[in-house]
Amino acid sequence: MNATNAALRSEGARALDVERLRADFPILGLQVSGHPLVFLDNAASSQMPRPVIDRWVRYQTSQHANIHRAVHYLSETATAEYEAARRTVRAFVNAKEDREIIFTSGTTDAINLVMQGYGRKFIAAGDEIIVTHLEHHSNIVPWQMLCEEKGAKLKVAPINDRGELLLEEYRGLITARTKLVGVTHVSNALGTINPVREMIALAHEHGVPVLVDGAQAAPHMKVDVQALDCDFYAFSGHKMCGPTGVGVLYGKAALLERMQPFKGGGDMIVSVTFEKTTYNVIPHKFEAGTPPIGQAITLGAAIDYLTAVGMDRIAAHETDLLDYATDQVNRLPGVRIIGTAEQKAAVLSFVVDGVHPHDVGTVLNDEGVAIRTGHHCAQPVMQHFKIPATSRASFAFYNTMAEVDALVAGIRKVQKLFG
């Protein structure tokens, strides 16, 4: 346990009342295969508490209309609530200005926005883009597509066998041709927390902008985009107790203003004639068409909920869960944890000797335990460890130590069945 985690642990005096919080989540009371649900697939998607569900219902029952520039009551109300949600997101990540917050349909959409809006305009033949070996496919494939189109080169910062990024090797990859760095804040497959602040500083020494994939970070720790000094930061609503269909791209205003639009259509324009069309200012330039209005407002409510719980307390409890789970799983003979970085978020990937992850997951499901098995949209990570797939348990603040025990008991059952 490193110094940061120890400091978070001392927050225990104001520890979470997890049982009380669990009562806010109706779905956690479900029975699966005759057992109480043990939901350990939070990295894939998280659950929604009643106050956030209610916010969406309130929007649809008393506030919904299409937004922007209609003069009737419901439209003005919906517009006000949508823009209020934007301000909530701004405060949550400590962006400087509201117009630096763009609502997208998710993290993948946000990254593709940067590829189309920044990449296609500014990257040319012979230029270089750096990503890491830890990336989710959403922060690899758009750059591969761009490199193929432009004749640019994709370079990959390597990791060691603990799943840690090799910072010196990363530094050595930056050249005069580097035009962009894409890095995940937290690895979804391994839980590794990358040294993004240092990576950004190194890139900026060469004038290179950095996009950070924050999908696995924003729900679990305080994110300060000004402190990080990242140029872009992307995350998803549904991974942080919000709805699917909405995500956020933060971008520095100066950068967003220079970018070309991603999608063309309504709202991203100022005026349209068949002779000439002029684009709108940010953020609207990047919000073509009817946005996910209800979803964005509901995301705002999710942020309010998480902020009330306290991001530091969330991080502290999840650290406790990770430490306990790691200790318990390490005691199981024939089970190997994949991803043992010094700094980790609450993700536990493991392999059981002689048993395929799909069989592990299927048997665990019979015990009501939900984990994810497969390559987790991170095939390069799997290739590094020379395995086709892992079983992955990923924790949220509403998980308990007893649920860790259920996971471990389930793994023992797997070993007994296939022994």
């Binding site: 799909h358 048997v363 086709p388 797939a389």
Partner: protein
């Protein structure tokens, strides 16, 4: 979703622990590789076909328990069958696994009905079908096959690649 207790019954666990006809087949006349990159099942099939008779089929590779047991049972049941009968069983197994064939009705699958439960576990259907798909590929001189994308048994007909 049904639970997997029915699927992981003793005969399947046994074939997973001690797969029959494991390894490369000496004197093989037909070979194929079956891969599901999305889940990591990867098997190599080798068969010896004499005239119209499938004399022997062997397999090896890395796969989950469902895939391995399905492959193991397939190699034992297909041994000595005519090519036409083998192809018929490929079709019938696929139909049973996708819920289109009633295991209680007429068919030639014998004890392979232990896999009927996989129709209630959609994410595992491809695991059970891959060895059969690979056998079809081997008999039709197709080198590599899969049950993903265009070859997804839930969408594509089994004829062809």
């Amino acid at each position: 979703m049904a639970d997997s207790k029915q699927l992981y019954q003793e005969v399947i666990l046994d074939h997973n622990r001690k797969p029959r006809n494991w390894g490369a087949l000496p004197g093989a006349t037909h070979k194929a590789e079956g891969v599901n990159p999305l889940c990591g099942d990867h098997i190599h099939l080798s068969a010896r076909v004499n005239g119209d008779v499938v004399e022997a089929v062997n397999f090896e590779g890395e796969s989950c328990a469902i895939c391995k047991a399905s492959a193991s049972m397939m190699t034992t049941i297909v041994k000595g069958k005519s090519r036409a009968d083998a192809e018929l069983m490929v079709q019938e197994f696929r139909d049973m696994a996708t819920g289109k064939l009633d295991p209680a009705g007429p068919h030639h699958l014998g004890r392979l009905t232990v896999f009927a439960g996989v129709r209630d576990l959609p994410t595992r259907v491809k695991c059970a079908i891959l060895p059969w798909h690979t056998l079809h590929a081997a008999l039709n001189a197709i080198e590599t096959t899969s049950t993903e994308a265009e070859a997804d048994p839930m969408h594509a007909p089994i004829g062809g690649a």
